[in-house]
């Protein structure tokens, strides 16, 4: 029973298999849900993260400032919550950006493997020979600081993985009789690519996408930490760590709290990716 990979269409089934991965997958899911929620409702309960109070610099946690204040007397708690917004947005946007370009190029590279595909894949090889973070740094240095510049910089760094992944899948999928049959019906190539090949790649792409969100957050934090990427007045976890780093002894929470957030989200996304991979793997159907 090869090729039995189609799905019973219930979303609950995927959730069931996903949940049966164990407590960790479930907890990870709710961690992400929690961060997304606070990012959305941030203005409802937070103080203005930019409001300075130079008389209250480097305050320890109190009822007024739950996590204390930073070098300019700004509320750390509010800054983390607003940082969540930008960090999550930047990682999601760069993930979508990379996925859209990478998947399209991957589909084309796999389908027209002879000439166009060869060119695309050699470019991918060239790209992969440069470490992604270095590459993002270069792009960031060229484009300058800012959220969208960072999104592009991180996104470009992730494109090759998608191309590789999708190209490989298309190479195997396009040999299938149903693709051959469809092209013999006189179907247009674009339709075959996006209506037949793409949906059959989806399970794998979703897993890759989830995992990439985690690494995008890391890249963003890394870029912001070294002063590229997102800089003041925009707040991101990475730039907060960089600010807090110099006052690590005085107010440890300033650097530690955003660091914990980064770690939590990245680890949670990785576990979700693992869980999804199992949930969407047809070979594990029925066993779980």
């Amino acid at each position: 029973m090869k090729n039995n990979e189609s799905t019973s269409r219930s979303k609950f089934r995927i959730w069931r298999v996903f949940a049966s991965r164990g407590l960790i997958a479930k907890i990870s899911f709710f961690i992400i849900l929690f961060f997304v929620a606070i990012a959305i409702i941030a203005p409802l309960f937070c103080q203005d993260p930019l409001e300075q109070d130079l008389l209250a610099r480097y305050k320890m946690p109190s009822s007024e400032h739950l996590l204390g204040t930073d070098s300019l007397g700004r509320d750390i708690m509010s800054r983390i919550v607003y940082g969540t917004r930008i960090s999550l947005l930047a990682s999601l946007a760069s993930g979508v950006f990379a996925a859209m370009i990478g998947i399209t190029l991957g589909l084309i590279a796999g389908y027209y493997e002879r000439f166009v595909g060869a060119i695309i894949m050699r470019l991918v090889d060239a790209h992969l020979s440069i470490p992604p973070l270095i590459f993002s740094m270069i792009v960031c240095a060229i484009l300058g600081n800012g959220i969208w510049q960072t999104v592009v910089a991180i996104g470009i760094g992730m494109i090759p993985t998608y191309i590789r992944l999708v190209q490989g899948m298309v190479l195997t999928l396009k040999g299938n009789d149903y693709i051959v049959a469809t092209s013999l019906l006189g179907q247009k190539n674009a339709v075959i690519l996006f209506k037949h090949l793409l949906p059959n790649c989806f399970p794998t792409i979703i897993v890759q996408f989830t995992m990439n969100l985690g690494s995008a957050i890391l890249s963003e934090a890394g870029l912001s930490f070294i002063g590229l990427g997102i800089v003041s007045p925009d707040i991101s976890w990475g730039s907060m760590v960089a600010e807090g780093y110099s006052a690590l002894v005085k107010v440890p929470l300033l650097a530690i709290m955003p660091g914990i957030c980064i770690a939590l989200v990245v680890i949670a996304l990785n576990f979700i990716g693992d869980g999804l991979r199992d949930a969407l793997d047809p070979r594990l159907r029925g066993k779980l």
Binding site: K2, D177, A181, T182, L185, H196, N200
Partner: protein, 337 residues
């Protein structure tokens, strides 16, 4: 065209050759060729069935795919209704792409697992660009096609994994029919099915031929199946046709030693007769199509082989009306019998 159509065969394959290059090394130099199809010729009349038999790897599927123009043949000609389609570009083929269709061997791999049955057939109707089905009638046409192949129209909302092998094969047939084809290449359409289902599907093929006037190229390795459905049969061995004749004649009077061996492999249902059945067991393996033996490709396994067989390839010559054989030693073989 109508006057000529009597003289012009529906499908004519002339000295068709399909060599696949074997590439090696850094520069991908062509070091050899796999001679998958090595000069075959046959004709089919409209509304008839031509059976192509032979063991695995003899090139029958490749021959079918050359007719479909999935491959561009290395040499030779494929004439479809008097028109040379051998070297047409995809754009030139497009107008009658839908007239030549294929039915695959594997009913599991030939349907997109993420498409419902209805949408598979609907797509075929739309993609073939047929003008006779108006957009508003398409849904009705899907139901009509499903009924035609013996499936309940309710099936349209099902997905391939919910269907049995036989049902999937029927969907595959419905998809081919959706674009109103004239010629269907059946590439071992029943080999993957249970014997009981095989009979049903074969009967379906015959019904459809009667109803729609289809022409089939029926590829199979099972002679019993081919005999039932074919008008003419071509026996292939290592990329060459060794015997071509009507299906009755082939069973009554098989001439080529390879055909004889194939026929002797069909089991007989009657136990007593089966016990006395003489099987001709061929020795050795089928030679590699990269480096086929000189002369007759069958000579290393043929008990009648002579020096001539090792040197020259016998031509496909008429033995009697409508019965062609490629063998040097027909006389000897006939005398022995």
């Amino acid at each position: 065209m109508s006057e000529d159509s009597k003289k012009v065969p529906f499908l004519k394959v002339e000295d068709l050759k399909m060599y696949f290059p074997v590439r090696k090394g850094l520069l991908q130099k062509t070091v050899a060729h796999v001679k998958a199809v090595d000069g075959i010729s046959f004709e089919i009349e409209e509304g008839k069935t031509f059976g192509l038999v032979g063991e695995s790897g003899c090139g029958k599927t490749t021959a079918g795919r050359c007719i479909l123009r999935m491959y561009e043949p290395t040499d030779g000609k494929v004439m479809y209704r008097g028109r040379d389609i051998t070297h047409l570009t995809p754009a030139q083929i497009r107008p009658f792409r839908h007239e030549i269709q294929i039915i695959f061997q594997d009913p599991y791999g030939s349907l997109d697992p993420r498409q419902s049955i209805g949408s598979i057939i609907l797509e075929a109707i739309v993609a073939s660009g047929r003008k006779d089905v108006l957009p508003k009638d398409r849904k009705a046409k899907v139901d009509e096609l499903l009924t035609l192949v013996g499936l309940d129209p309710i099936m349209r909302s099902r997905y391939p994994h919910e269907l049995s092998g036989g049902q999937r094969q029927r969907v595959g047939i419905a998809r081919s029919l959706a674009c109103n084809p004239k010629l269907i290449i059946c590439d071992e359409p029943v080999s993957a099915l249970d014997v009981s289902i095989q009979a049903q599907v074969i009967n379906l093929f015959e019904d459809l031929q009667k109803k729609l006037g289809l022409t089939y190229v029926f590829i199979a390795h099972d002679l019993a199946v081919v005999r039932h459905i074919s008008d003419d049969i071509g026996v292939m061995y290592l990329g060459k046709l060794v015997e071509v004749t009507s299906s009755e004649e082939l069973y009554r009077n098989p001439l080529h030693p390879y055909t004889n061996a194939l026929l002797s492999a069909i089991p007989i249902a009657d136990y007593e007769v089966e016990k006395t059945r003489q099987r001709i067991v061929l020795e050795n393996e089928i030679p590699s199509p990269i480096d086929p033996p000189k002369g007759c490709p069958f000579h290393p396994r043929c008990k009648y082989a002579t020096e001539t067989c090792k040197q020259t390839m016998p031509e496909l010559k008429p033995y009697s009306e409508g019965h062609k054989v490629a063998c040097h030693n027909l006389r000897t073989i006939l005398n022995q019998e």
